[in-house]
Amino acid sequence: MIEPLAHLPVLLVITPLLAALLAGFMRRGGTAFGLSLAVSWASPVMAITLLARVLASGPVSYHIGGWEPPWGIEYRVDALNGFVLVLVSVIGAVIMPFAWRSVARELEPDRQAWFYCMYLLCLTGLMGITVTGDAFNAFVFMEISSLSTYVLIALGRDRRALVAAFQYLIMGTIGATFYVIGIGLLYLATGTLNMMDLAERLGGAAAEQPRTIVTGLAFLVVGVSLKLALFPLSAWLPGAYAFAPSLVTIFLAATATKVAIYLLIRFLFSIVGPAVGFAASPVAEMIIGLSLIAIFVASLIAMFRLDLKRMLAYSSLAQIGYITMGIGIANQPSLTGGIVHVVNHAITKAGLFMAVGCIVFRTGTVSLTELAGIGRRMPLTMAAFTITGLGLIGAPGTVGFISKWYLIMGALQDGAPWLAFVIASSSLLTVTYIGHVLEVAWFRPTAPALAGVSDPPLSMLLPLLVLAAATIWFGIDTSWTAGIASRIAEGLLDGVAR
């Protein structure tokens, strides 16, 4: 008997995969867009149903092809990856309507169907990494998402997009190689690839072959860190974000790095944590140190960028620093802060990049020097930019504040007040670069070149306004974000404590 709900974990991956195949056979961008839209809107329904089941009755395990784990591949969804699945699919659903006109404007007609094909493949990969309970299977999906991402970036109009894509190709391949070497070493020591099994056997293996395990974990952490753009393994990110088509930048910033962060959390807390004790290892301190550098260096660079996309790309590096900082401090509030910032940064950064996408759509430029007074020409777009920008700064009443609240609480509880001050003071750097944009956009006299410019059409404006509204909504009602994140953090730390 077939019960559709039981197959949700695999449906989440197969639907975009099949749709990608179909889109590959399509010739017209419009039909491919329709297909992508259908898939993007169906995914969150499935993901939310799945998360609701997980929250109500515990983790769901799905055996691919009916093979029992550890021999077969297991898809395993608990609160953590259920949450990430919802995030990725909801962001995908919100930004898809934006693609219609943005892609039509930025890409040549014969490439549009390919674009959607690659987009769907990328979505498949991200969903797969998140849903799978098999370490090697995660590598396969990582490759699917990465390869499609290289293509997506290379589709950018600017020829420099090719260089950026190539750079990411090299770095991404190194990252993936490191990851697979790490998995190989762990397999060598434990004889399993199933994550649950790994977690169980790692303790014993670590006693027998400590060097293999430590080396394996080092490769693994470095590989994943490259994917999530932890400083200094982040050189690929600014170029990739700056030259990719607008939709790709939005999608990558909001989801791709977040999925890599999920993988890091999964390994550090669910797998390594119980066996080796993550918080006591030097990894934690290293992550905190690198996060701090990321926050300050990237924010400082962002302050001096006049190219809006680049500025926001560097800002992403800094914001990823907050998330990894929460992971590094590794207590309940800080981990809650880190996980909730995954969501909060996804919302705010998607909103900011989308506002920039709207500006590109209307004016064709991302250079701040040419955008004086754009606020009076595109008031709704810039209002949304302002709100999401405040979210990025962490103004109270927006999502960013919630993240900072938990992170500062975590730092204070960890007995590191200096860290709390550092986190708090870093907001000031964000104020500087977002404030600069706002000052130019709202208060400078309008540039003559912007005479005929107005807000973009509704299909682009509406997703943007939804993200801006979410920035405020989830800053005030946090039961779906911080509430669930707090449960997840508790669960992860319980696992470590056991």
Binding site: G397, I402, K404, M409, S425, V431, F443, D477
Partner: protein, 494 residues
């Protein structure tokens, strides 16, 4: 209306008003009418709420629980009531003044100006009625952001520069120092609700209390305790009505209001006294009082001089807190009201002089008193209020603070008050002398002659407003019943 309904009305009126003003932005007269109506209704709601609060009612409104410990909630308690009354009452006068000033000076962007003004007032009222530290912080930050466009109103490089200083200092201090203090208090006390007597008693070590108090005093940059005062003189680039209401009343008073409220209802003055916090805070506040006065002595730009005088007067209020005697805290609360009416009068007068004669420097004011008798008469009353002489409102606050200092034998505070009174006299009296007794220079103000020297006084709306606030300065001395009752009620006396 019930007390709760009045509280809700007071909280949403300015924001509703700002939307209506935005919709009417193109039509000057309906727009100004909307501002005046909003301000009047707000003041009325405040007045109606005062009765129940004096009678002991504490209307409260729990809006939403954001996260554990973070609730947006409001309550009307005596100190907040007093502050809300002062801010909303003076908003009416300032609106009248603004109409005269902005039109006479042909300022651009009057529509957005009025909108942000209303939002600023709304934030102030929200802060005044905040029932916990998180809500207070929320509106504190909102106020910073809502006033930023007003500070940069002129949109020239100087205004942008001042705006950056303003934003970075206020947001910076609050995010780096105030926010960690809030988190720290939450971790220690397990609550952020304002509670008479405080919430940290017995839960924090002496070191923790000292650290948190220092974070609060310096983190609340709006209180302009040195060295975090630079934003205030910088903000003087704004149009004078903004300086008058926001940088003499709403913004800076929100700062000292926060400090008073947090010391009384988060730390509790017994806890602070038991951990002997009085000493260093007296030094910090005293140093600011004296240093700012000395700087004010040397200023030639009238508005900058007034700004430094504000810095000095704000630290009087912090000094009242530092003395940690109930009576000195009553004085601090009284001074919030007293300084507000006097300082707004002084700024109104400065704007009046600018509008009528385009004069901004003190050295140009020879004989101005005879050409603008109403303006300078009001200025004189405001100046007396600053020095703290009867019969002005400034005297009362100073008197109570001084009594507190005497009671607790805090001779440092007594010395600071005495010296600063002389300094205040030292920079206000020469202006009065210059204005009333020195002759008008011949052929003064080349270039402005044709346009502005024709009349003596500024437009009647401006004169009317400053006469009203000057009368309020005197009136508050003669009839201090309501503010005094509220201030005493704050300290738990009936």
């Amino acid at each position: 209306m019930s007390a709760n309904a009045l509280l809700i009305a007071a909280l949403i009126l300015p924001f509703v008003g700002s939307v209506i003003i935005a919709l009417l932005a193109r039509w000057p007269n309906p727009r100004e009418a909307a501002t005046l109506l909003t301000a009047s209704l707000l003041f009325l709601a405040g007045l109606c709420l005062t009765g129940p609060v004096l009678a002991g009612a504490r209307p409260a409104l729990h809006l939403i629980q954001v996260a554990p410990g973070l609730a947006v909630a409001f309550a009307a308690e005596p100190l907040g009531m007093l502050f809300a009354l002062v801010a909303s009452g003076l908003w009416i006068v300032t609106s009248v003044y603004s109409i005269g000033y902005m039109r006479a000076n042909r300022e651009p962007r009057q529509g957005s100006y009025a909108v942000f003004f209303a939002v600023s007032l709304g934030s102030t009222i929200g802060a005044a009625f905040a029932a916990n530290l998180f809500t207070l912080f929320l509106f504190y930050e909102l106020l910073t952001m809502a006033t930023y466009p007003l500070v940069t109103h002129k949109r020239d490089p100087a205004a942008f520069h001042a705006g950056r200083v303003y934003l970075l200092m206020l947001l910076g201090s609050s995010l780096i120092l105030f926010l960690p203090a809030v988190v720290g208090i939450w971790l220690l006390a397990g609550t952020l609700d304002f509670t008479p007597g405080g919430i940290v008693a017995g839960k924090a070590s002496v070191f923790q209390v000292t650290l948190l108090l220092a974070l609060i005093v310096f983190g609340i940059g709006k209180a302009a305790v040195m060295p975090l005062h630079f934003w205030l003189p910088a903000a003087m680039v704004a149009p004078t009505p903004v300086s008058a209401l926001l940088h003499a009343v709403a913004v800076v008073k929100t700062g000292v209001f926060c400090i008073v409220k947090i010391t009384v209802m988060i730390f509790g003055i017994e806890t602070l006294a038991a951990t002997s916090q009085s000493g260093w805070l007296t030094w910090v506040a005293g140093a600011t009082v004296i240093a700012a006065s000395v700087v004010a002595l040397r200023q030639d730009n009238l508005k900058r001089m007034l700004a430094y005088s504000t810095v000095s007067q704000l630290s009087y209020i912090v000094l009242g807190v530092a003395i940690l005697a109930p009576i000195s805290l009553v004085g601090a609360a009284m001074h919030i009201a007293g300084h507000a009416v006097s300082k707004i009068t002084l700024f109104f007068a400065a704007g009046s002089i600018y509008t009528a004669h385009h004069l901004t420097e003190i050295s140009e004011l020879n004989g101005i008193g005879r050409r603008m008798p109403w303006t300078m008469g009001a200025f004189a009353i405001g100046a007396l209020g600053m020095i703290g002489l009867p019969p002005t409102a400034g005297f009362l606050g100073k008197w109570f603070i001084l009594s507190g200092a005497m009671q607790t034998a805090n001779w440092l505070a007594v010395g600071v008050i005495v010296v600063s009174t002389m300094l205040n006299a030292g920079y206000f009296l020469p202006i009065l002398y210059r204005a009333f007794f020195l002759p008008v220079p011949d052929g003064s103000q080349p270039g402005h002659e044709a346009e502005h020297v024709t009349g003596g006084e500024a437009p009647w709306l401006i004169v009317l407003s400053l006469v009203v606030t000057a009368s309020a300065t005197l009136g508050l001395f003669c009839f201090p019943t309501v503010p005094l009752a509220l201030a005493r009620l704050m300290m738990g006396a009936s």
